[in-house]
Each structure stands twice: as structure tokens, then as C-alpha cells.
Amino acid sequence: MLAVRDLSLRFGAICAFEDVSFDLAKGELLAVIGPNGAGKSSLFNVLSRVYRPQTGTVTLDGEDLLARRPRDLAACGVARSFQNLGVVGELTALENVLVGRDHLMRAGALRSGLGLARAEERAQRDAARLALRIVGIEDLAGHVVATLPYGDRKRVELARCVAMEPKLMLLDEPVAGMSAAERAAMTTLLARLHRDEGITMLLVEHDMGVVMQIADRVLVLDFGRPIAEGPPAEIQRDDRVIRAYLGEGLAVSA
């Protein structure tokens, strides 16, 4: 579904990453990992159209993603989460999820203000509630997000992504900043979304535990270059990967 070929990004003389190529099949969960500075976040930002790469192509179901602007991503079926929390504090959880449905709605200010768009609004609220239910936080629907704890806010954001009915979900360090309990809950949730809802996901993540548990395949970057790709179990034993994380001289053979 997602095909990435020969992608590279440079900032002036500094190379963020280069020669990255991989495929992501429908329904797969690919995790991109690597030590700090490996280029994971930059790769993520290229895929979510924040940066423009110097070389390479990214196609989603045959469509050239690099030719589209960030605002077209939703329409292309791509949903992404934000490290700085992409939730709107002043809105309730339900309203936040409805923001994710915005690109699927048609009511303008004229009809909405005059109260003429009730049918669409009701239908969308039902869809939003469904997304909240899938993520398991339907009871938080009426809560103003600013009053929710961090873990719940992350789940609201996830619900928003789910509500966008995306082909592809890009998740930016989904368990960053979480306590052990929150992490476990989030991991279970992501696994469930992947397995039961069949959502195709690409994760950038630091936390090995999460990655090993839920990823179908793992792509490892080090100093901006891909050094390994494969199922989690293989990656765990891969010499190059171990060396990258632990440094030379500490590589242990499988």
C-alpha cells in the first residue's frame, strides 16, 4: 500500500537520512526504530509532508504523496499523531474527535449557524462516538480535554486518528512520556486497533518493548541509514542493530 523508494533528506550539509526504501502492506504495522539522531523523526516528518525530501518517492496506493500538500493528507487517507499532542484542550473529547471528521463534513458556516445542518451533525457525532468506543474512552466524550490526564489525551488523539477512517496511520512516538501503566494500556490498545480494526500503521518509536510486542516488521535506522529490516525477533538478534544501540565492542552473537 505504501511504497517508499530511495528517500533522502538533507538540511544543508547535514544528512538527516538517506537511501531509505521500504514497503508497507495493507494491514501491516511497521515500526521505525533507531538510536537518537538516527533520522526517525525526520523520516516521519517527510512522510507526513512537513519536510520535502531531496530524492526519492513515496506512493500510497499508487498516488504520489510527495506531490500533495500537508492539508491534503487527510483526504488522501493519512492520519498522523503529534508528539506535542495534537488535541485541542478547550474542546471536549467528542469535539476533538469530530475535528478529525471535519474533512468528511460539508456543512458551512451559513447552514451551521442557522441550525440547518443538524442531520449531518448527528450522524458525525455517532461516528465520533464510535471512534471513542473503539479506543475505549466513550465515557470521556463530554470531558474537556484540558482536564484529562496525559494518557487519556493521547487516547483522544488516537480516537481522532481512527475517526478519520484513514488508510494509513502515522504514529509519532505514541508512548512517549507515559508511565509504565499508561504504556501497557496504550500498547494493548494499539495492538487491538491493528489486529481487530485492521488499521495499517507506521510507528516511530523508542520503546523496544512496545515495538517487539506489536510490530509486524521493524525498520532500523542508524546515522540516517537503514541498517536492518525484518520481523521483530530477527531484528532483536541482529548484530548490526545491537552494535548500533550499544556501540562497538559490545555486540553479542545470537
Binding site: L73, T92, A107, G108, S112, A117
Partner: protein, 350 residues
Amino acid sequence: MTLPLLVVVAVVLPFALSAAQLTTATFVVIAAIGATGLNILTGYAGQISLGHAAFLGVGAYTGAVLGGDHGVSAFVWIPAAGVAAALLGAVVGPIALRLRGLYLAIVTLGLVFIAQHVFFNAGSLTGGPQGRAFPAVQLGSFDFSPGQVLDLGGVTIDSSGLYYFLGLVLLAAATAYAWNLRRTRPGRAMIALREREAAAAVMGIDVGRVKMTAFVVSSAMAGVSGALYASYLSFAQPGQWSLLMSIQFIAAVIVGGLGTTAGPLLGCIVVFALPSLLKQLPFLPAEGSGGLSAGDLTSITYGLLIVAFLSFEPRGIVGIANRLRRTGNGSDVGSRASKLTVTTPEEAHP
């Protein structure tokens, strides 16, 4: 619950006030229409605009030219004032699109000056620096001109009262519209834009369209407000559509509570009733004798109010009311707001 009570109070009020107080109340209600628009632009969509006075002015002169010079009915010139101002808003919209935050604020500052410049120089439309007369509202057989009196059964309503009720009706319509916006797609999009502009586009929000909508809607309301205001005053000069007027509106929406439903009216009560209240302070020297004038004191107070509210209660009077209510009930923060504040959709659609 509280809404019917408010309606009753609002309707009965003119009969309980003195003539001077009614005049103030009428100005407050008319201004609140414009403030509701600014609340949508700044409170919902987070766009700083110092140019609100320009839209009021455009609305006023549209009303004057159509109603006064061409004898068109008020049923036409009042909406036309809104449309004309909205058109100007639509021009500013694309500029707002390209500019972020503070650049936009300064451009709107330029808008106020440029508009005033045009008003001062377009003598045939605006009367130039001397100003011009504005037409009184005439709705069918109801004549709002000063001195006219309406007899309804035993109840007499004078010109002020008529303007008051017309303003009230339009304010109710504007408030209902704003409330609907807030609970539906455009309102959510605006708030998302305000809080997370960088991320909003990726979330699927059409940022350009949202900003444009916010400008058009708020200018339309400003236009209607300006037309009514000038009509009630019956005479105005270009100098009135000034930066100070824009700032008065900004002060009103801040003091009332940015983004709240009751904020615009509450803020206007404070800001526009202030001068008449201050005039009655005993220690002020007589007008024109130098020293602290009521005008200066008013400005000082606006300034201090803005600073004070932003320091202590950015949610304005509504915020203060909420806090009092919460400490009184000991109820949950946020999830049980009353209809006077940011309504949660769960209450609107139980």
C-alpha cells in the same frame, strides 16, 4: 433555565430605566452585536484584529448611502450594511491566510488607518471631516426617528426604546448564530485553528476557509452593528471609526470572556456603560477645565481593565462567574458548565 429569565429582564428593562440610562443600554445592546462578531473572530478563531472599527464604519456608511441618500428601506439597508462589511472582510481574509498572528494584527491596524483615511476623504459619501447625518430606521409603519413614539395598548415606547428592541432582536439572532457555530463544524474548526494552527491543516481542516469564514462572519456582524449605531446617533464623523473604537471592542470581548456566549454582552455592558458611570464620579473636575477628564479616566480604566483581566482571569467575567459557581457547588472542573459559558455539546444534545 436562566434564559427565559434573561429574556423577561431584557424586555422589561427599558421601562425601568431613565431616559439617559436607556440610551446607554441601547448603545450597549447595539455594540454587543459587533462584539459578538469579534468574539467569533478572536475568541473562537484566535485571529487578532485591530481593524474592527473599519467594518463598523463601512456598515454605517453603507446604511447612510442606501437609506439616507437613496431612501431605501431599513429592511434592505441594515442587511446591506452587513453584506458590505462582509465583502471587506472577505478581502482581508486572504491576507490573513498568508500572515500569522502578529503580522496580521499589524495589518489590521493598517486597515483601520486606511479605512479612516478613505472615510475622511470620500466627502460625498461620508461628509468628510465634518461628518454626516444618518437615517433613522423605518420598519414599515414604525418610525424610529427621535421624537416619534409608539403606542402599544397602554404601553408607550419612544425612539430609544425602539432602537433598544431592534438591537435586542438582532443581538439575540447574532448570539444564537454564534452559539450554533460553536456547537458545530465551523466552531470546532476555528477553535482547533486557534489552539493548534500548525497541526490543524494536517488534521484535515481547511485553514484558509476557516479564517475566511471567521473574517466574513465577524465583519458582517460589525457592519450591522455600525449601521444601527450610526443610525441611533443620527450623526457621526469619520474620526469615530478609530483605533480606539477597535480597542473598545477588544476590551469588551476580553473583559466579558473570550470565546464565551455571554461574554460579548457582559463586556459591552462594562466597556460602553463605563463612560456614563465615570462621569458621575464626584471627584472629577468640570469638563474642559483641564486635569483629569472623564475621557482620560475612561481610557485609563479600559487599559487597566484589559491588563487586570488578562493577568488574573483571562476568561473574563464569565470565567469569574464560573469559578464562583464551581467553588459553590464543588462540582467537576469543566465538564459541567452552565449555558452561560462554553456549552458542552452533551448538554445541548442530551
